[in-house]
């Protein structure tokens, strides 16, 4: 009973190909994260207009510039992926830096929006139900942007140190997948919070 499977002759499966584990893993993570966002989005939608006191969603201003920045960072990261795939490292570094800049702008914009809401409109997470749902949903997304930015910064650091090469293209695509997810979630959050909910 101690036969070794290696003694089986090799059959037709000469071009045996499996999906990249990085991509499978990242897609799995994205599915899991989507479920977290679904719960927060459902809570937000369910609680629209149920807040019994305090300021409501009409105090929100639509962050158009912010959203354009974040969505277009998806485009710049695609260009960066394309550049490293073809070994153009300088172009990669440039597009990657631009992506990070757009991400930073988004975070800065969110910070300014929150500053205005907290100090001028006196809406905090404990003010009322609207504050609770708004800050937790938008904050959850901003947290994901920060996590994504951390990943992007690491790659940027290695790029500056000259450690990133063409052969890392596949890994960088996996990280970019996460960034695309963060951008896609913003489309949902934006629609729910600033269009449907306002």
């Amino acid at each position: 009973m101690s036969a070794i499977p290696g003694t089986v002759p090799i059959f037709a499966n000469e071009n045996w190909q499996l999906p990249s584990r990085g991509r499978v893993g990242m897609f799995a993570l994205i599915i899991g994260e989507s479920a977290i966002f679904t719960i927060f989005v459902v809570a937000y939608i369910y609680y629209i207009g149920r807040s019994t006191y305090g300021p409501g969603p009409q105090i929100l201003e639509i962050p158009i510039f912010n959203s354009i920045c974040l969505i277009s960072s998806s485009l710049t990261i695609v260009l960066a992926e394309h550049a490293i795939k073809h070994g153009r490292l300088r172009a990669f570094a440039a597009w990657w830096a631009l992506t990070m800049l757009l991400g930073l702008e988004f975070l800065a914009g969110t910070a300014m929006e929150w500053r205005r809401l907290i100090f001028e409109d006196h809406l905090t997470i404990r003010t009322n139900l609207f504050g609770t749902t708004f800050y937790s949903l938008v904050g959850l997304h901003a947290t994901h942007v920060i996590v994504g930015m951390t990943g992007l910064s690491l790659v940027m650091l290695f790029t500056v140190l000259g450690r990133v090469e063409q052969r890392h293209a596949a890994r960088i695509q996996v990280l970019a997948l996460y960034w695309h997810f963060v951008d896609a979630v913003w489309v949902v959050v934006f629609t729910v919070v600033y269009i449907v909910g306002r």
Partner: protein
């Protein structure tokens, strides 16, 4: 080694002291990223907490054995049933499935390790520290009554009860934070299992040649991704409410307690399928080997598993019939719940058809699996009874419900995992478990199980509610409660027999050899225990039973499988 030796300065004694060797050994377990070692860690951890949560159940049963008992204080009683449920689901169930999955999935698909070994270690230690954190609550503070701050809001933690006003102190925080930490561990383990099964298969191991256990782990991991995360989200909301003054579940501010129920059961119901699906996987490995037949209806088994996963996502509100939903919702959730019976029925018929006409060997693993098929059928039938909304209104929160879900979780999940322990222990340790003690374990546990949980059905129909501290002597529940408690202790003795068997056989068991059960999946082609990196040479597979092909070169499976 060079043939010349050089004198070394200082001591020449190169053998480390006993203490250093012990330290080295512990170190090797703490820093390991090997899927087999992590699998063993998961399983040992699960068995340890099985004993702990079992002891809690015993204390609960002593308390309820006679009316007006004061064995436990009411506060401690609440803590014990909360911790019993939470421990059994998160520290025993989830760790058992990922322990078995960790150990077996790479071996079964001919891989050398999981897809992300370091993520694997991270996931285990997250789960482990989550569990320690949860149990630290017993000593982590004086709490309100000097009983520690163990969670006491029951394992579903319904909303107003968890608010600051009704749950002062840190009991609920321990519960929520521990579950968030363990949730991340589970998420990591789920991602890892999926990536392993999809990206690490050996040559020729197509998806439809994977052993059914691997399939069930894939389905269960996919399910964890979308059901554990809602729990994490709900816990984050709870923490926001408790620490940041949020209003998610605060009715006075417009929040809703019902929303918590929905969010919890969106997690809570699929969770039992997360637990039971790997148990199905074990049954689907054990039953064919001990019936000496290939599994009946492999594609139907796969389809039924995926079907169960999908249906399980649309049944959660059958836990909430009594909150007063619309009749449309009642009808929807009643019907969708009954639909679970179709794919599970397919599975039961396939297991029976596998046994049918087979040459059955009733070794201990097969005994447990046979009992499982029968008990799971009963559990499914009471499940369909409870899915009928009017019946549910009558029996909601009664011991009938307790009996039903212990039939699924003990009678099915635990039985299958005991079968799995007896089946794979020889592979993991290289030693056979004692069959004699195994038979004793099986029959004691089987009898104890039926004495306890069959009787609970009657208690439920007689109107005994769950989670009560004690009861009046004139309700007609006295004898039945005494019987339930007695059965509980028989089960406790049986589990101690298992623990003894596990320890004793490790040192004194018969040597197992590579393939003691004459089985057919790849893990049995390696030595027992398997060496580091499992396979010296990457295996190549042509059918669902690669070892059968090797053992029977004149009549291999691939001639018949497409």
């Amino acid at each position: 080694m060079a043939d010349q030796t050089y004198p070394m300065p200082g001591t020449l004694d190169a053998t480390p002291s006993r203490g250093a060797a012990l330290l080295e050994w512990i170190h090797s377990w703490v820093v390991t990223v090997d899927h087999k070692k992590l699998g063993i860690l998961y399983a040992v951890y699960a068995i340890f907490f099985l004993v702990v949560a079992g002891a809690e159940a015993m204390a609960i049963r002593i308390q309820l054995a006679v009316p007006h008992n004061h064995f436990l204080s009411p506060e401690l009683y609440n803590e014990f049933f909360t911790m019993h449920g939470t421990t059994m689901v998160f520290l025993v169930g989830m760790t058992f499935i990922f322990g078995f999955g960790n150990y077996l999935v790479p071996l079964m698909i001919g891989a050398r390790d999981m897809a992300f070994p370091r993520l694997n270690a991270f996931s285990f230690w997250m789960s482990a520290f989550g569990g320690l954190f949860l149990y630290f609550s017993f000593i982590g503070g004086f709490g309100l009554y000097g009983m520690g701050s163990a969670p006491d809001v029951s394992w579903w933690a319904y909303a107003p009860l968890t608010a600051r006003a009704f749950s002062p102190g840190h009991n609920t925080d321990y519960w929520a934070l521990a579950l968030i930490v363990m949730g991340f561990g589970t998420l990591g383990a789920g991602i890892n299992t999926l990536a392993t099964a999809f990206s690490m298969r050996c040559r020729g191991m197509t998806l439809f040649r994977m052993p059914l256990f691997v399939w069930l782990m894939v389905v269960t991991s996919g399910l964890t991704l979308i059901v554990i995360t809602p729990l994490t989200a709900a816990q984050i909301m709870l923490i926001i409410d408790r620490y940041l003054g949020g209003h998610f579940f605060d009715t006075q501010a417009g929040g809703s307690a019902t929303v918590w129920m929905h969010f919890f059961w969106i997690f809570g119901h699929p969770e039992v399928y997360v637990l039971i699906l790997p148990a199905f996987g074990i049954a689907s490995e054990v039953i064919p080997v001990f019936s000496r037949k290939a599994i009946f209806g492999y594609p139907a088994m796969v389809a039924a598993s995926v079907g169960i996963a999908f249906v399980s996502l649309s049944v959660w509100a059958h836990h909430m019939f009594t909150i007063g939903m619309t009749s449309v919702s009642n009808a929807f959730f009643a019907l969708s719940t009954m639909m679970v019976g179709i794919p599970t029925g397919i599975k039961i018929f396939n297991w029976v058809a596998t046994m049918w006409g087979g040459k059955i060997r009733f070794a201990t693993p097969m005994l447990f699996c046979t009992a499982f098929v029968f008990q799971f059928l009963c559990a499914g039938l009471t499940g369909i009874m409870l899915a009928v909304a009017p019946w549910n209104w009558q029996l909601h929160n009664s011991y009938f419900v307790i009996a039903h879900f212990h039939y699924t979780l003990t009678g099915s999940f635990v039985f299958c995992f005991f079968a799995g322990i007896y089946y794979w222990y020889p592979k993991v340790t290289g030693r056979m478990l004692s069959e004699k003690l195994g038979k004793w374990h099986f029959w004691l546990f089987f009898i104890g199980f039926h004495v306890t949980f069959d009787t609970m059905h009657f208690l439920g129909i007689l109107g005994m509610p769950r989670s009560i501290y004690t009861y009046e002597p004139d309700r007609g529940w006295n004898t039945l409660n005494a019987i339930v408690s007695a059965g509980g202790f028989v089960q406790g003795i049986a589990v101690l027999l298992l623990a003894w068997n596990l320890i004793d056989s490790y040192f004194n068991g018969r040597a197992a050899g590579n393939d003691p059960w004459d089985a057919w999946t790849l893990e049995w082609s390696t030595p027992s225990p398997p060496p580091d990196y499992n396979f010296a040479e990457e295996p190549v597979v042509r059918s669902r039973r690669p070892l059968w092909d090797i053992k029977h070169p004149n009549d291999p499976d691939w001639k018949y499988e497409r």
